[in-house]
């Protein structure tokens, strides 16, 4: 059982950081929704503020790690230019996709959208994390529109990350990023 170094890092980026972010986002949405649904007279939820503060800050860090590994580790391998007269384009995913009319839109729509929309996730969640960290449950209750706004931004963050993740998974099926050193996971003895 083998894995190339590039395949490994692509897996870490998508199935590690990206998938974990989506899971964390769904947890944050549920918690924000739960708090928004509770009436004004409901017991004060400031007791678990410290946990939620840490949670949203961790989400923001995770979102930034995901986009930065995507843009500066995986993407250069994806867009590598093949030397002239290269017949086997398997090591050049973008060129491979663009070489056929049946796959070129996976790049021109899929990757073009993914590479930009993904950045909306860390921007949105960083804002939400900083506001929640600064104001806490009590501060958010004191300013009613704040909760709905945070909820909206976390939702868009989730949608942006989901779009990027979905296209990442599909692009990995159509033109996987592979190459580099081979990692032997299980050897045939």
């Amino acid at each position: 059982m083998e894995l190339t170094a590039r395949g490994f890092w692509t897996m870490v980026h998508g199935m590690g950081f990206g998938a974990l972010y989506l899971l964390a986002c769904s947890g944050a949405i549920v918690e924000l929704w739960r708090r928004a649904s509770s009436s004004e007279s409901a017991p004060d939820q400031t007791a678990d503020d410290a946990f939620l503060r840490t949670y949203v800050i961790a989400m923001a860090v995770l979102a930034w790690i995901t986009v930065l590994t995507g843009a500066y580790v995986i993407y250069p391998w994806y867009r590598a230019v093949a030397p002239a007269n290269t017949l086997d384009l398997s090591g050049f995913p973008q060129r491979l996709l663009m070489s056929s009319p049946t796959t070129t839109q996976w790049h021109s729509i899929g990757m073009e959208w993914k590479e930009h929309v993904a950045w909306l996730a860390p921007i949105s969640i960083t804002m939400a994390a900083v506001v929640f960290y600064k104001y806490g449950e009590r501060g958010i209750r004191a300013h009613p529109p704040l909760r709905k706004t945070l909820m909206g931004f976390v939702l868009v963050s989730f949608v942006s990350a989901a779009i990027a993740g979905m296209f990442g998974a599909m692009l990995s099926k159509k033109a996987p990023v592979e190459g580099g050193a081979t990692l032997h996971i299980v050897s045939d003895k």
């Binding site: 930009h116 950045w119 909306l120 921007i123 501060g139 704040l146 868009v156």
Partner: protein, 109 residues
């Protein structure tokens, strides 16, 4: 310990963070779209060659976002502002950014 509403922070800081996020997201979409259309801008956006124009587009948008946030926070930190219209504006900018980064829609403009 009881709390009273007097020691609650004014909403200016939150409004600054929210509006700056909307502006930063929208800047990203606009710069990405402009770099796609204007060849000279596309070249200028190559801050890190292996990543290509994406490096400049995202770095520029992040700089705009953080600068906007800094300026708005300095201006509104001690103030209570009209949060609802600011939130709505920021959210509209954010949703527009999602739409504008979708290539078939951006190509219609």
């Amino acid at each position: 310990m009881t709390s009273n509403s007097d020691d609650v922070l004014p909403n200016g800081s939150a409004a600054a963070a929210i509006l700056a996020a909307g502006i930063g997201a929208f800047a990203l979409a606009v710069i990405a779209d402009a770099a796609d259309r204007i060849v000279s801008l596309q070249h200028a956006m190559i801050f890190y060659r292996p990543t290509g124009p994406l490096s400049g587009v995202t770095t520029s948008a992040i700089v705009i976002w953080l600068l906007t946030w800094f300026v708005l926070d300095r201006t509104w930190k001690q103030r209570t502002v009209a949060l609802r219209p600011i939130s709505v504006t920021a959210f509209v900018l954010l949703v527009l950014s999602v739409l504008l980064t979708f290539p078939p829609l951006a190509d219609l403009l």
